[in-house]
């Protein structure tokens, strides 16, 4: 019997861990108990709704269940699937009014438009037939039989797609450069070394729709005249690796990869190369060195990889999200694609919405969507009625955008104007409790750690900037430090060898631009306005609120809280390690931070 009903179990990283696999197994078991042959249970890629996982969706009635446990499987199958009565208590609804929420009506999905994530959460990523059923490999067939390489470039040009890895270079130009170079051998590379802390868009795509990447790379091989591709992927993403490998085997078996693709005389194959935890390997020349088994140190450009890449041969490198757009542009046409987004930035962008936000998860929106729409309409706002402070885009290479710019449309040019960058798609929301100096220090610490050490502006400049921030956050800052930060930062931007060093000062420069008062409070008043920097805060007990319950004294790990039962307690500041335990355990709000 052909299935008429579908139960989709999200198998993204964040649903799998709290039991998606067990939920899947239980649902299948329940279906077999009820002899429900017309129901198919499918493990899908990330549905994007990560904050409310594990998530289960039913089709065709589009019901979204959130926070599902393995024990709920019986109820879902018996009540909903068999008896047509939805399990009210599991329905996702922002207002908790318990009305049925259709998936597309959930605020989280309403403003989204999915091209890159078109199949994520819909198909079983390990089943090539499901990909094919959704127009998969139609683009490959089209290019191999009906298009010549110049047609493909023309299509990309009319689409206006720009590289999604960070810099936003026009994709068609990159393809064209590599195509034009004469060489006996060329390579296609997928940059899947997603190292930006707080970003997992590529993981979602690779795990949820691996064939879209394989198909796109094969198209590129046909276009530029390459026979071999490499996927350079983080070793930290084992599931994505496994699915890519399975995907490659399946597509080879169907003649979609390997020798004589689709019976034509075009041959192309792909190999996986593992990264080993070096952020700098996201930079093209460092990535190439790493594929070659070397230390991932960047080289000066030119020569660009399109001329001299892997093994010295012309190489086309695109990032995962860029690749995922390609098949759609080919099947639906560049003109269709170019109508999505803004004049400057066509198409959509996937963001990993995280930090202090209610609906953290993967979202894909048309370029030009405003930050406010993403934070409040899709993201559901800030939890705990805290005030929005800033959103950080572009990770360690990007910057912060404060509340007054929430209505800025997101595209390459606007983000740049605000002193940030599009980056790969990390979008981290910060609230009033986050100290901007500390945030800048966090990102800089990351860049210092990841600097390969080859050029001195990055190696020495980064360390010096970090030391100054350390000084400021421990209350030893001086006023001239602010000028020093700016001078060194600008020097690094100009003089560093690669993108890592050139962009490492961005988090400092942008926090200085919008939150200089916070730096000044640390320096002049030895005060951290967000009460985050430990050296600048102290814990005290309010005499009028303390009832002498002793819970703080009992929990203090260093025993510096004194006081008899039912008497006001005091903290000996000299021994306090500022762990905040007393603040956490006090039930009477008697502990305050100064």
């Amino acid at each position: 019997m052909n299935p008429e009903k579908f139960i989709l179990v999200c198998n993204g990283a964040e649903c799998r861990n709290p039991g998606a696999e067990e939920i899947y197994n239980n649902l299948r078991h329940e279906c077999s108990i009820h002899n429900a042959d017309d129901v198919q249970v499918i493990r899908t890629g990330c549905l994007g709704f990560c904050a409310h996982g594990p998530v289960v969706k039913t089709l065709p009635d589009e019901t979204l269940y959130a926070g599902v446990t393995p024990e709920d499987a019986a109820e879902i199958v018996e009540n909903h699937i068999i008896n047509g009565k939805k399990v009210e208590r599991l329905l996702y609804n922002k207002n908790e009014s318990k009305q049925n929420v259709k998936v597309d009506n959930a605020d989280f999905y309403q403003k989204q438009f999915r091209i890159v994530l078109r199949n994520c959460g819909i198909i079983d990523p390990e089943n090539i037939e499901e990909y094919i059923a959704r127009d998969g490999y139609a683009a490959l067939e089209k290019v191999v039989f009906d298009m010549n390489p110049d047609d493909i470039i023309a299509e990309l040009k009319s689409a206006g797609l720009r590289g999604r890895g960070g810099a936003g270079f026009p994709t068609w130009m990159k393809w064209n450069f590599t195509k034009q170079v004469e060489s006996d051998e060329k390579f296609v590379v997928c940059n899947a070394d997603e190292g930006d802390p707080g970003a997992y868009m590529d993981r979602g795509t690779l795990e949820g729709d691996p064939h879209s990447i394989l198909e796109a790379m094969t198209i590129a091989g046909y276009c530029i005249g390459a026979k071999k591709g490499y996927i350079y992927i983080r070793a930290e993403y084992p599931l994505a690796i496994e699915r890519l490998q399975k995907g490659m085997e399946d597509s080879r078996a169907l003649g979609l990869l390997g020798d004589n693709i689709l019976g034509s005389d075009f041959s192309f194959d792909i190999e996986i190369r593992l990264g080993a935890g070096a952020f700098v390997c996201g930079e093209e020349t460092a990535l190439i060195a790493s594929i070659e088994g070397e230390r991932g140190m960047p080289k000066p450009r030119p020569p660009f990889p399109s001329v001299k890449g892997v093994w010295g041969k012309p190489t086309l490198i695109n990032n995962v999200e860029t690749w995922a757009n390609i098949p759609v542009i080919i099947t639906r046409g560049g003109e269709w694609f170019s109508k999505i987004g803004t004049e400057d930035s066509r198409g959509t962008k996937v963001f990993a919405l995280t930090g202090k936000i209610r609906n953290s998860g993967l979202v894909e929106v048309p370029m030009g969507t405003t930050l406010r729409e993403i934070v409040y309409d899709i993201g559901g706002g800030i939890p705990g009625d805290k005030a929005f402070k800033a959103v950080q885009t572009g990770g360690p290479s990007g910057g912060v955008i404060p509340a007054e710019y929430l209505d800025t449309p997101i595209d390459y040019i606007h983000l740049k104007e605000l002193g940030s960058i599009m980056g790969s798609g990390g979008m981290i929301i910060m609230d009033e409790d986050d100290c901007m100096v500390d945030v800048a220090k966090f990102y800089l610490g990351f860049s210092v750690d990841e600097s390969c050490g080859k050029c001195s502006p990055c190696r020495i400049g980064g360390r010096t900037l970090y030391n100054i921030l350390e000084k400021i956050t421990t209350g030893n800052g001086e006023l001239e430090d602010i000028e020093k930060l700016k001078t060194i930062g600008k020097a690094m931007q100009t003089a560093s060898l690669c993108g890592l060093g050139q962009t490492a000062p961005n988090p400092i420069l942008s926090t200085l631009k919008y939150f200089e008062d916070e730096y000044l409070a640390h320096i002049k008043n030895h005060r951290c306005p967000s009460k985050k920097c430990k050296e600048l805060i102290s814990f005290h007990i309010l005499a009028d609120k303390c009832v002498g319950c002793t819970i703080c004294a009992k929990n203090c790990p260093v025993n510096v809280i004194d006081g008899a039962v039912r008497e006001v307690h005091t903290i000996d500041q000299s021994g306090c390690i500022k762990c905040g335990k007393c603040f956490e355990v006090c039930k009477f709000n008697a502990v305050f931070i100064k």
Binding site: C50, G277, Y443
Partner: protein
């Protein structure tokens, strides 16, 4: 050390993997990954043996091992607790989680408990930002952690 002698025996799977990759250009990182999978770190004697098998200078192997965070030169605990230090986890208290683990286990980052059972590692973003703060123990992810939940997490491994 006696334990090291035992470790120096490469499994058949590892040997055939090395044979398969030996002739391919740029094989070193892929081979080191396989070695790491088998030993959970790269002991010096193993690096030497790889150097002989591939005919690559030991210095080059060490150059690569020390460049990449993923490869370790010391043996982690049986249960290596990797605390995510991605941005989302950092903002939501990842540092406090590390501190509390250090208090409970009495070891610092990259150290191993005396019984060899636990070690603590601060790792780069594990890509589970929606569950922040997150820790990973031998592949299993624990999300939305609080200091109080840590004893529960450790208890899962105490008797293993």
């Amino acid at each position: 050390m006696a334990s090291d002698i035992k470790e120096l025996t490469f499994s058949q799977e590892l040997v055939s993997f090395i044979e398969e990759w030996k002739g391919k250009p740029g094989n070193l990182i892929m081979i080191l990954h396989k070695v790491h999978e088998e030993f959970s770190y790269i002991p010096r004697d193993v690096a030497k043996k790889i150097s002989e098998m591939l005919e690559v200078p030991l210095a080059k192997i060490y150059g690569v091992i020390t460049f990449y965070h993923y490869f370790k030169l010391t043996k982690p605990g049986k249960f290596n607790i990797q605390v995510c230090m991605g941005t989302a986890c950092y903002l939501k208290g990842g540092e406090d989680i590390i501190q509390e683990l250090e208090n409970i286990l009495g070891i610092g980052i990259n150290q191993v408990t005396d019984d060899g059972k636990f070690s603590i590692e601060a790792v780069r973003c594990v890509g589970c930002c929606g569950l922040a703060p997150v820790a990973v123990v031998n592949g299993k992810v624990f999300g939305s952690l609080t200091k109080d939940k840590l004893s529960e997490v450790l208890a899962e491994y105490e008797n293993k």
